[in-house]
């Protein structure tokens, strides 16, 4: 039993990590007024590049670094489009997702002639706590990193002058500018950093978790991360909670039926689809229960136009 819980927690730690990283990044970007729904795409590209790098060099850490860099690059692209070219941030994101999906697989075909998945590559190690028997807890270091980043992000936004400037850009760019904040540059940097974090998340999926890239590796998690941002009411600390709750509920959605099956011997067929709704309904219920009025940045998604 205790073993089950620990295992459930281990699962949670894995599945919450990319969510938390991406959500934190997105919060930073959105606080500056830029929304980036291309997270799914960033996950894919970074997961792919980091897997590739690791495959070539055999060094997952280097792989993850490249994943980060690709994330930053995607951020640069989205930043330039939505800040300087006043592009529609949502369209750009939608397009980027489709591009990333197609492109990562094309590259995979190009490299390995494979339509499905990359070769298995070495993975980052995990912290393993053994409590005897089948009671083990697996903690991916990246998860700890993601916690640190989330807390740091909160501190940065709430406690530092840069944070204040950044938030001003998301609240009222005109005011911010009149107070000498360079809105364009701030937004660009925020977008780049935000995407970078998502990049780490994507890299984690392939070189931290599975040890290979497959074309559907992100499986909608980019959008869950977006939901987490709103769930957290744009507060990185709450994003930790959100990611955890979702991750835990997600784990439970497979744990419960298996558990019941083991106890009762009844095998779930169609009903398993109902179990699969657990994480989504849980999140919804939690939100309905705890959510007070959201405080989203007022200039969110609106390009800053001076004249």
């Amino acid at each position: 039993m205790i073993g089950d819980i620990l295992n459930l927690l281990s699962n949670t730690f894995f599945s919450m990590t990319p969510l938390l990283l991406a959500a934190t990044g997105e919060i930073i970007a959105e606080k500056s007024g830029v929304v980036n729904i291309g997270l799914e795409g960033i996950f894919l590209l970074s997961a792919f590049t980091s897997a590739t790098t690791t495959w070539i060099t055999g060094d997952p850490l280097l792989g993850m670094t490249i994943g980060l860099i690709i994330g930053l690059a995607s951020g640069l692209l989205h930043g330039v489009i939505s800040v300087y070219l006043r592009g529609d941030q949502i369209i750009a994101g939608v397009g980027f997702n489709s591009f990333a999906y197609g492109f990562s697989v094309l590259m995979m075909i190009y490299l390995w002639g494979s339509y499905s998945n990359s070769p298995t590559v070495p993975k980052l190690g995990n912290i393993i706590l053994r409590f005897g028997g089948e009671a083990n807890l697996t903690i991916p270091p990246t998860m700890i990193l993601s916690l640190i980043i989330a807390i740091a992000a909160w501190w940065f936004l709430e406690k530092t002058p840069w944070g204040l400037k950044l938030k001003a850009c998301g609240e009222d760019p005109r005011a911010a500018e009149s107070m000498g904040v360079n809105v364009f540059r701030t937004r660009l940097y925020a977008t780049i950093i935000g995407a970078g974090l998502a990049g780490i998340g994507g890299a984690f999926m392939s070189v931290g978790w599975l040890g290979s890239f497959s074309r559907t590796i992100s499986a909608g998690r980019g959008f869950i991360a977006l939901a987490d941002v709103a769930f957290a009411n744009w507060n990185p600390l709450l994003a930790i909670l959100g990611a955890f709750i979702f991750g835990f509920a997600d784990g439970s959605s497979t744990y419960l039926p298996i558990m019941l099956q083991k106890m009762t011997g009844h095998q779930f067929t169609a009903e398993s689809y109902l179990f699969l709704t657990i994480p989504y309904l849980t999140t919804l219920v939690v939100v309905v229960l705890i959510m007070k009025r959201v405080k989203m940045p007022r200039a969110l998604g609106k390009p800053y136009i001076k004249e």
């Binding site: 002058p161 204040l164 938030k167 001003a168 009222d172 005011a175 500018e177 009149s178 107070m179 000498g180």
Partner: protein
Amino acid sequence: MASNEYAVEMRGIVKVYPDGVVALKGVDFLVKRGEIHGLLGENGAGKTTLMRILYGEIKPTRGEIRVFGRRVSFRGPWDAIRQGIGMVYQHFTLVPAFTVKENLYLSLLSVNPKARLGDAVSKADKIAEETGLRIPYDEIVEELPIGVQQRVEIIKALLRDAKILILDEPTSVLTPIEVRDLFKALRKLRDMGITIIFITHKLKEVKEITDRVTVLRKGKLVGTVETGKVDVKTLARMMVQREVVFKIEKKPAKPGEVVLEAKDIHVIDEEGVERVKGISFQLRKGEILGVAGVQGNGQRELAEALAGIRRVSKGRIILGGKDITGYNAYQRYMKGLAYVPDSRGTGLVPDMNLVENTALTNLYRILGWARRIKWDRAVEITSRVIRELEVVAPSLYAPIKHLSGGNQQKIMVGREIVREPDVFIVAEPTQGLDVAATEFIRKTLLRLRDNGKAILLISTDLDEVLQLSDRLAVIYEGQFLAMGRPEEFTIEKLGLIMGGVRE
């Protein structure tokens, strides 16, 4: 050396906005060191545009700028700020969701990145000392009265030790008392050697505070004169190129029966604060009831309650003998009530065009079969507004945000006037209007009254209320402290009562 006698030299400034509007057609603008320099001009003359250029917010299409003799070309306000330029906008540029403290800190950072929150406060305190502009620190900006917000704006600019301070229509939302304090502060600043550029439409103020004045007209320079050497009439003529009458002749009122009656109404706002504490009054046909008071004393809430935008927590409202307390705004407008809010941010939809904005309160008049909107009707109405109020606009279909403040105001007032309402509630109707427009709107209000309309005029402009109203009420902390005929009040007396002092 010669060039250093000037704090600001702008020469041959041309500005063409992206949508092709030519706002400035080669303007020369020279400001001496340490003077208070007035900038006058009709609505849409280009004052704000010129200042936004000086402040580096937008780039001139052509022309050269020197600050303290140095040739400059700003990439953004942050450059201007480093050159010691500070600006207080017509529409404030504070982050509404931040506290005063945070706003001040933010602007301090732009000149001193190593500053800490504490520094901002202490520095602000010092400035408050010198200038007498007192402000709270921990309040959320958007919850502050306009007057206070403006003080924050000014201190914000001074925090960055601005040597040149631009004020765009600072007085258009202030009461005489507030204006007096402001002027005191400005004089102190001038004595401290700070150069001030002061935009206004109120010629009295120009005479009172400025050393020299520059007048713009339709994006061209009319001239720069020593304030001492010209009288108000001359300035007005320079502005509008025609004679302006300042005393509007006013027939005696012939009040008819009561059309609007408020019975002990109370209003509680979002924060649960009671903003209106039991106000009763009767408004008769053919009379103007003025409400004077300092911003934030509940006049906004009173007006909104009467207009049906806010629920009353207690009391009744009777319109034309009918109890309309339960009606929403839309229904009241249909019943012949009209309301002009004190804030364009409320009254207008910036991204919608003139026609759509006119439709806002005229909606019920342009609905056809199956609640269909007859746009051709809307266009007619809009054209009428534009014609009758001489609105300057690129086209019927230009987004309203591209109009100058004054022209926006004209649309907002005009669209109500053309409805010929029986009861007309107007707040700050001439806010930010040039003399001509002001004159026009005041005349219109009188005309409506003579045609037997009932008007409730809420204004911080005492000249306005004294000049127009047949009866006058003074509001203080949600109550009418005094009610009487305008002759019974002097400006001084009013000021005292508005400050809460009963006689």
